[in-house]
């Protein structure tokens, strides 16, 4: 591909923890031939595999791509997609696109704040629920839209959202956030 600045055969440094999940990050690194411009792609994979970007992971990526730590940290914090904190067991993302906004999506956010005490971008202290807002999920026809644990729900009201969330948190209607990926093989399948 382009600009093979740092082509290295297999100089990969293993992470001391021996966590097998690093293998998946390595796979993306290899796919992009350890090119520095692949940083964002690598961070995407890293976050997908680990759930969030902890310091050790950022250091690992920086070392593999031979980039300065501050550069990697600067990129990871620039983009909203990357999270440096662990996410809750369940997530609720409220779309705040224009169409959802004019259809009172803010009321749902206010409800979440009142009921669970969390603002967008926060996780409840018990680690059960993370609340986020999105710019536009591109489902404006169904406004207001939200995503609970990867399920897109349309034409929501504060009441209907609360019901769904209570059920999810109580474990009724069961499935957790993402279908729990137990093994590296599962994850490989998921990612590829």
């Amino acid at each position: 591909m382009i600009k093979s600045k740092s082509k290295r055969a297999s100089a990969a440094i293993e992470h001391p923890s021996g966590d097998p999940r690093f293998k998946l990050v390595d796979r993306t690194l290899k796919r992009f031939q350890y090119q520095q411009d692949a940083l964002i792609e690598v961070l995407h994979t890293a976050q997908e595999v680990f759930g969030f970007l902890e310091d050790d992971l950022l250091i690992y990526v920086a070392r593999q791509l031979k980039l300065p730590l501050s550069w990697v940290y600067g990129v990871a914090t620039f983009y909203h997609f990357f999270s440096l904190k662990p996410q809750g067991e369940h997530t609720c993302t409220v779309c705040m696109g224009t169409a959802c906004y004019v259809k009172q999506a803010a009321e749902i956010v206010a409800m979440l704040q009142a009921e669970f005490g969390v603002e967008p971008g926060q996780t409840t202290p018990d680690g059960k629920l993370s609340v986020a807002t999105a710019r536009c999920l591109g489902s404006c026809g169904l406004a207001p839209v939200l995503v609970i644990d990867n399920d897109v729900l349309g034409r929501e009201t504060p009441v209907s959202t609360l019901e769904t969330l209570r059920a999810r948190l109580a474990g009724i209607n069961g499935h957790k956030k993402a279908p729990a990926l137990e093994t590296v093989e599962d994850m490989e399948e998921e990612i590829l």
Binding site: I40, Y79, A99, C136, G138, C140
Partner: protein
């Protein structure tokens, strides 16, 4: 694969399709899938599983977007010799009835009420050029695209036209950038073509960030090959061998389909080395955005492709002379690339015959907000706003009245009812203080508070400011705070003056388009709905000073800045 192979492939597919007694097209776009479309497809597929003998004559196809998203899930039934029938709000139960009626020929009267007539203005006022295949083909099958004339334009360009001729064709078509700026695409292509360099790049900008807009997502999801074909033609025209599609991170389905499309096209020799047995090589790679609106700005987008913080750099130099890694780069919106193949197929004159004197062709809009029919529409340039909102959109629901239409998202403005008869083209919208933008069109009814709308967009710009230049980084925060005070009723007349001054200043001094256009929603609402702001201004000094005392509740919004 050369042109005759391509032709044969298309013929085979057409033959196969015509053999089917009944084709059930199910919309597989995000809005339909999330309103129950998945279950509908499962019902159809379940039937076929049960009746294996039907498999040869009945096809269930997951297609791209059919348009009227608020009426989803949508199903189109195609039968030879008959007009297509579109069903709206299809449930699992209804799917069974549809299957009975069209496949097993059982009588049922329960489906009639769900038929969406295809002679309603929603369809008749539209003109589908870019979205011609959307909703009719299976986006995951190259053959289906080829059967609908796909990759013929690429073959034609490669065999019959010089790069210069391709550029001229695009210039003559009058096509302008669909990402919002409206720069003549052909001129841009020519700049890149003329630039002398060892390498050149083509980038398709699919980082559709405007809230309330999903044209690009739909195009990438519904007809990915069309984008690839447009890019390949561009690559040939400008002399690039590498292309990138920058897909917004929120669009995983689009990315997956594009990736699959690239793989299939490469396998068939329509991309990659020696494209269609010519000397032209063209590879396309996907880059996934990571959530930054500013990356829609071309220099920020390139920074992001290069793995950096998505911060814009001052222009000039413009990407056509110095872009990715310093090489000449052509950046166009995916919708622009979507218009290329039809132009090559039908000729520049045909395309220039659609639209107005200065704005040619069609434009896709995402119609949303307080309007009866929300969804994705494609109309000829120059259609009036009234026709879009009232004829296609079906007007404002719940007996409310139309107040304004917001176009161009956070960089655009609000157009009031007085201007409903304005033709929608680049110049007219700009004159009204808005912009065409990428195509979000949100209708607001009389319950909407305009200062609130302005505040909403300012909060957006504040969150999305990259932080590089002072006017945008701090100006957006200051404007947001003033708007917050205005909506809370604690703003003074002086606040209003400072706010207007700051708007003008940011427009003229910000580094990139985001900061320069951030005041637009505010300025346009101020222009048309000034009385709403005035009504919220408090002229009693003592009362407004009350915001500093502890007794008064905080005027800070829940989302406190800093």
């Amino acid at each position: 694969m050369n042109r005759s192979d391509l032709h044969a492939l298309g013929e085979r597919e057409l033959q196969k399709q015509s053999e089917a007694r009944c084709r059930l097209l199910c919309c597989g776009s995000t809005p339909c899938l999330s309103s129950g479309g998945t279950a509908v497809q499962e019902v159809f597929k379940g039937f076929l599983k049960e009746n294996r003998d039907l498999k040869a004559e009945v096809a269930v196809v997951s297609t791209g977007c059919m348009g009227p998203c608020s009426r989803g899930p949508l199903v189109t039934v195609q039968q030879p010799g008959e007009e297509d029938v579109i069903y709206e709000r299809v449930t699992s139960e209804l799917a069974q009835e549809i299957f009975k009626k069209h496949v097993t020929d059982e009588a049922t009267d329960r489906v009639e009420t769900h038929i969406l007539p295809n002679d309603i203005p929603f369809f008749t006022k539209q003109k589908k050029v870019v979205l011609a295949n959307s909703g009719l083909i299976d986006p995951e099958r190259l053959e289906d695209y080829v059967a609908h004339g796909g990759y013929l334009a690429l073959g034609h360009a490669l065999r019959e036209m010089t790069p210069e001729e391709v550029c001229n064709e695009i210039i003559n078509s009058g096509l302008r950038g669909r990402g919002g700026g409206g720069y003549p695409s052909g001129l841009k292509w020519n700049l890149v073509r003329r630039a002398k360099a060892d390498k050149k790049y083509v980038i398709a900008n699919g980082d559709e960030g405007d809230p309330g807009a999903y044209m690009d997502r739909t195009l990438m999801e519904s007809d990915p090959h069309r984008v690839l074909e447009g890019m390949a033609i561009a690559g040939y025209a400008v002399g690039a061998e590498q292309g990138f599609i920058y897909v917004r991170g929120e669009y995983p389905i689009a990315a997956k389909r594009l990736e699959k499309a690239i793989r299939m096209a490469e396998r068939r020799g329509l991309l990659g080395s020696r494209v269609m047995d010519t000397a032209f090589n063209f590879r396309i790679d996907i880059r996934i955005g990571a959530g930054a609106f500013v990356c829609g700005e071309e220099t920020a987008l390139m920074a992001s492709i290069m793995g950096k913080r998505g911060q814009p750099v001052p222009r000039p130099p413009y990407p056509p002379s110095s872009g990715l890694w310093g090489y000449p780069t052509l950046i166009n919106n995916v919708e622009t690339f979507g218009s290329i193949a039809p132009i090559i197929d039908n000729g520049a004159e045909w395309f220039a015959g659609i639209g107005t004197a200065k704005s040619k062709g069609t434009k896709i809009f995402a119609l949303a907000g307080q309007v009866e029919n929300t969804g994705l529409i494609e109309v000829p340039m120059g259609l009036s706003l009234r026709e879009i909102v009232f004829d296609i959109g079906g007007g404002v629901p719940d007996g409310r009245t139309f107040k304004a239409a917001q176009t161009g998202g956070p960089s655009g403005g609000c157009i009031p009812a007085d201007y409903l008869d304005t033709p929608v083209d680049y110049e007219s919208l700009r004159e009204l203080g808005s912009i065409m933008g990428s195509g979000g069109l949100v209708v607001m009814d009389d319950t909407t508070s305009m200062p609130n709308v302005a505040k909403y967009f300012m909060e957006f710009c504040m969150d999305e400011s990259c932080g590089k230049c002072v006017p945008c980084r701090v100006g957006t925060v200051q404007l947001y705070r003033i708007l917050d005070r205005i909506t809370a009723g604690t703003a003074t007349r002086n606040d209003l003056t400072i706010m207007e001054e700051l708007c003008t200043m940011m427009r003229e001094t910000s580094l990139c388009g985001l900061g320069q256009s951030a005041p637009n929603p505010l300025l346009s609402t101020l222009r048309y709905f000034r009385e709403e702001y005035e009504a919220l201004i408090n002229d009693d000094l003592h009362a407004t000073n009350g915001r500093f005392t502890l007794a008064t509740p905080s005027t800070r919004s829940a989302k406190e800045v800093l």
